[in-house]
């Protein structure tokens, strides 16, 4: 699974109103091992800037990208052999399906939306997966999905070219600057 690429497709982003939730989604995607988040509907430069600031300081190659119709993005992903996992409270419980998803060893596009995801997404997705069947948060669903998918690998990720690194501490804040 080491060469599998995971990207996140964020549907339903609205300017200003969703800036904070979408920034959380992007930062979770990065911290938990995805390589990119795509916003097909709205080019939100504020979100992009915030995430790029984190990448610049904490390293790695995570990308925020825009554009294209979501339908085409999903179709193209599938036509290239990738699978599409749509996270929804209506889907199949994560523990029942994560083994199968992992064992396919394909690139994964994780689709996250808000309340109003078009019906078509459900039928286009390879898997509709629930992180509990209760209403909560797409941010939480994304994090828990990626944690299960990568089996905790995110706790040991190294981010290249970081300027700052946190040194885990039982009782305070330790951050080191890394000279280049």
């Amino acid at each position: 699974m080491d060469n599998v690429r995971v990207v996140v497709l964020r549907l339903g982003h609205r300017l200003v109103r969703d800036e904070r939730v979408s920034t959380h989604l992007a930062l979770v995607a990065r911290a938990f091992g995805a390589s990119e988040i795509i916003f097909p509907e709205q080019e939100d430069l504020d979100v992009q800037k915030k995430v790029e600031d984190v990448v610049n300081r904490f390293g790695g190659n995570f990308k925020v990208s825009f554009g294209g119709a979501w339908r085409n993005i999903i179709k193209e992903w599938i036509s290239r052999g990738g699978i599409v996992v749509h996270l929804t409270m209506y889907g199949v419980p994560l523990p029942e399906i994560i083994g199968e998803i992992r064992s396919r060893n394909r690139d994964v596009m994780v689709v996250v939306g808000g309340a109003k995801v078009p019906r078509e997404v459900y039928s286009m997705a390879t898997y509709n997966v629930s992180v509990t069947n209760q209403p909560h948060s797409e941010i939480a669903a994304l994090a828990v999905f990626l944690d299960h998918y990568f089996e905790g690998k995110e706790f040991y990720l190294k981010f290249d070219n970081a300027k700052l690194r946190v040194i885990p501490s039982p009782s305070g804040k330790k951050v080191v600057s890394i000279g280049r």
Copy 2:
């Protein structure tokens, strides 16, 4: 661990600005098995109403409560024998400490804040725990912590007195109304 009570203490909530993030935190707390979220600083009736609407429809006994100084709430929790887990990107990595936290078999208060958590919280907490040492989202950190703490038990929770129940589906939305 069946009788352990888990509550969430939300620091740094600001009216209007943080409504959505705090609502996500509360819904994650509920869906992942906590019994209560406490807002010590701001009485936000909009958040409370949104969460109570979910409880009313999807069941359970989750509570949103307000008031008290956070310092006293933490002190009282500890004096009653509970432990306090503060989630922070600077803390000890979750996989290194979750076994110990679980094995203590005590009531747990999970403290989540934003960027500006007072220094004193770090010293008062029984454990400062990181869900990766990267910046991302307190919502994601809470969900992953609770998932690991409960070892996936949240996927099998039953919520009493639900009016609606989602029936997991591979490709659509199935919701049943439950007559009472």
